[in-house]
Amino acid sequence: MPPPGGRHKRALVTLGLLLACVVAAALSVLVGPAGLPPGRLLAAAAGGDDWIARTILFELRLPRAVLALAVGAMLGAAGAALQGYLRNPLAEPSVLGASNAAALGAVVALYFGLAALHPVVLPLCAILATLVALALLFLLAGRSESPLTLILAGIAIGTMAGAGISLALNMAANPFAAMEIMTWLLGSLEDRSITHIWIALPCIAAGLALLLWDGRALDALTLGEDGALALGIDLGRARLRLLLGVAIGVGGAVAVSGAIGFVGLIVPHLVRPLTDRSPSALLVPSAIAGAALLTLADVLVRIIPSTNELKLGVVTAFVGVPVFLVYLMRERRLW
């Protein structure tokens, strides 16, 4: 509900962020270890018979760009929705245990060798684990509408999932098995295929739709639970939609990308000054900014010269921590 002048600004911000997204996506398609000139890629896209360029474009770079956009959008929106819902600027998808549970599901698939059966098995295990974690969260948090109960239950679940991951690493049959799990945990979008897109996109689309539904409930929560209820908000249903959205969306995202931290945390903070700071105004811009940021980070891992390609989760964490600290200093609050 922006005042008349605010609507203009809002459209401008959305447009600017979309533009950043387009630039990031274009870079993501144009940049890669093969060093193909843009002209050759364009010709291949236009239907030329240069099969090397076609293969690289359609089977490697496009899926990677699409996944980076989708995963980034999901993480950004989930962070914004959770910060609004929990009224805590430090909330991100991992506080409810969603990311860790998805990672545990994937690690279980790797540990027992299920992942080798078919590329679909690992993501499906991750999504399944997130849903189990969500059910546990509801059992633990009960009917309480206090954000603190939810955070504590989420931390318990996340820690338990983390312990499960450590156990898998601990018990890994040989260093290579442990290495495989570690590599996945670092988070990456390398060598993802169309299959991964088919797995992740429906989950992410459903997750985003559920999260964008409740902008008004999030705004009302600015006044606390009583304030929101007295404004006619059905908090029980809003919470159900929000948690389902996070579980399905983040589960689907983490299932294909591995654990990528800090995007969900920092994107809402980067976007907030551009909006009227109400939680609802933050949702869409956070999704778009998350998409742009993760895609850019994914370009960065390809152009930073290193012997092993840097993992995406490593880069986002290195970019994330300084931003986080600057925010903390500026706000001068201790949460």
């Binding site: 006044l223 007295a230 908000i233 939680p279």
Partner: protein, 261 residues
């Protein structure tokens, strides 16, 4: 507009917090709810709004409030909770606009009627000069007016405010009470939970006195605030009088019954 309470009771844990309160609250009046700490004043307000599980019934214009949806109830009774915290640094105008949430259909934009209501609330509370300011950075008095504007923007026929005078200086206390009285004179039912007995005596048309969760007195301020009752309920000796035409209730000392309330 009337709100009728029929044997309203609340038990939190195993402790009865509100015991069978019955009263009929009519529109066009400013009704004060007074009583010592822990008497159940806030719980009464929250029970009327169905924010705590309660026994008994609340009838809103002869309709059982339990049969109303949350949004319907929100359009009928606006609520300003005690010690309202703001979780995000919203601009004042944006905060006041939150009051229109109960009126918005899903996915609809805020319309001309909503803008008009927001402007009326801003004018009524005289916060126009603050509209661009960040609500979390206001002084106590400004903040109280802005929060009241948020509640008034609902334009509900009834308004429940819980301790609107807390941490306000005397001038701002008078200002808020005048706003509440003007709202009642405009036809609304205004229920205010109050600690300041002088303010309650001077501005309210009627007082409900709660003690230990029970309604122990219900009537005009002069009927309710008697020395004997203040001694029994608050455990204080008080001087009750007038200055000009303004009522005064001045606590003098605690009674000697060892009560620490």
């Amino acid at each position: 507009m009337t709100i009728a309470l029929d044997a309203l009771g609340v038990t939190l844990g195993r402790r009865p917090v509100l015991r069978d309160v019955s009263a009929t609250l009519g529109g066009g009046s400013l009704i004060g709810v007074v009583g010592p700490n822990g008497a159940g004043k806030s719980t009464l307000a929250r029970a009327i709004l169905r924010l705590v599980p309660a026994r008994g019934r609340v009838l809103v214009d002869d309709t059982d409030a339990a049969a109303l949806s949350r949004a319907e109830l929100a359009r009928t009774i606006a609520y300003l909770p005690q010690g309202q915290t703001l979780h995000w640094p919203l601009a004042v105008e944006r905060l006041v606009a939150l009051g229109r949430l109960p009126h918005l259909a899903p996915f609809s934009r805020i319309g001309a009627a909503d803008h008009a209501a927001i402007e009326r609330a801003i004018r009524f509370t005289d916060v126009g000069a603050l509209r661009g300011r960040v609500a979390t950075e206001l002084s106590g008095g400004e903040r109280a007016r802005v929060l009241l504007a948020r509640a008034l923007a609902v334009e509900a026929p009834a308004l429940i405010v819980d301790e609107p005078l807390a941490s306000l200086d005397p001038g701002h206390q008078l200002e808020v009470m005048e706003l509440l009285r003007a709202q009642a004179q405009g036809g609304a039912l205004v229920v205010a939970v109050l600690h300041e007995l002088t303010m309650a005596a001077r501005f309210c048309d009627r007082l409900l006195l709660l003690d230990g969760g029970a309604l122990v007195a219900d009537g005009t301020p002069a009927e309710v605030l008697t020395p004997a009752r203040l001694a029994a309920v608050y455990g204080i000796d008080a001087w009750i009088g007038t200055a000009g035409d303004a009522a005064l209730v001045v606590p003098l000392r605690r009674c000697g019954d060892g009560r620490t309330g």
